[in-house]
């Protein structure tokens, strides 16, 4: 049943002629972001990231609900949603792009692969190109563990930070993505 749901998403984003054997998906991906400054550290986690990857074309897509980011401190979470991300207006972030350096044949054999990822990242309703490195580890059970670290500037996505708290928030927010894909 759940595989069918993945298939629906995949069919919407990928050419219908492709083999389902080469498609991978997860709905439990993890994104962590970290803002470190001498004033304070701000960190949050989201464990409900949905993603689909097609090994035959390299097409990759993921989406995250902004309100699913969880903070240690309630005040940070409230400010994040209400003042900066305006999550009622922009409830989701997503990425659509392509993986290069990894083929459908690679997905069939266990090993670690360094890949390049490029595409469009939409946060706060503003889309910007993103190019980064990632590691794809093909496990013996056929799952693929994908990891990537990159940085995002809030201002690039139209997120206004008042001058009075500018020193509390890093210029570059560090983002970590961990996705464990299962074959569809």
């Amino acid at each position: 049943m759940r595989t069918l749901a993945y298939l629906t998403l995949a069919l919407a984003m990928l050419p219908a002629s492709l083999s389902a054997q080469e498609r991978f998906a997860t709905r439990n991906g993890h994104i962590n972001f970290f803002s470190g400054t001498p004033v304070e550290n701000i960190e949050a986690d989201n464990n409900k990231v949905t993603s689909v990857f097609d090994a035959s074309t390299g097409a990759i897509e993921f989406a995250a609900l902004i309100k699913a980011f969880e903070f240690e401190k309630a005040l940070m979470q409230e400010h994040f949603n209400e003042n900066y991300m305006e999550s009622n207006t922009h409830p989701k972030a997503n990425f659509k792009g392509k993986v290069s350096g990894f083929t459908a044949a690679d997905a069939m054999k266990a090993g670690s692969y360094d890949v390049d990822v490029s595409g469009d990242l939409t946060i706060h309703g503003v889309t910007k190109p993103l190019t980064t490195k990632a590691t794809f580890v093909v496990n013996a059970d056929g799952t693929i563990k994908a990891n990537s670290d990159f940085s995002v500037r809030p201002e690039d996505h139209g997120i206004a930070i008042p001058g009075v708290v500018r020193k509390n928030i890093a210029e570059q927010i560090k983002v970590k993505v961990d996705l464990t894909y299962a074959r569809m």
């Binding site: 049943m1 759940r2 069918l4 749901a5 993945y6 629906t8 998403l9 709905r27 439990n28 993890h30 464990n47 409900k48 949905t50 989406a63 995250a64 609900l65 309100k67 699913a68 969880e70 903070f71 240690e72 401190k73 309630a74 005040l75 979470q77 409230e78 949603n81 209400e82 009622n88 409830p91 989701k92």
Partner: protein
Amino acid sequence: MERKHLIVITAVVVLLVGATYGYLEFNRGVAGTASMPVQEKVTAGELLADFQTDEAAANQRYVGMTEQVVQVSGTIRAMEPLGTGVTNVVLETGDDLAGIVCEFQDEEVPTDWRSGTDVSIKGICTGLLLDVVLVRCVAVENK
């Protein structure tokens, strides 16, 4: 002289109260779902249907401006321990393509829950991806 002392003492007390409030507010943890009031009670099928019919309206109703608790009742379609300290409890919706995914801390999942069990769950509704997603979930009761 006494009046001067009174002013100083009052100022110190006000300062201490303010500083204490500020410290506690800054370090306030995220509220536990169990202790928060329920804003909406709905069945799993109705919740999904509302999001599929009008996502913006459903976001306004169930996700809200500030986080709010939604109580969802339904039948467990699947239990998915992720091995990371959390378990997804997926509720039937009458739609094979989508469910209600409720994220529990492992220790919060009642040990007698299985696929097919009728349950009622409180959680923070965060919106719709493939499924409607609730986080920080707790069991209300076995129906």
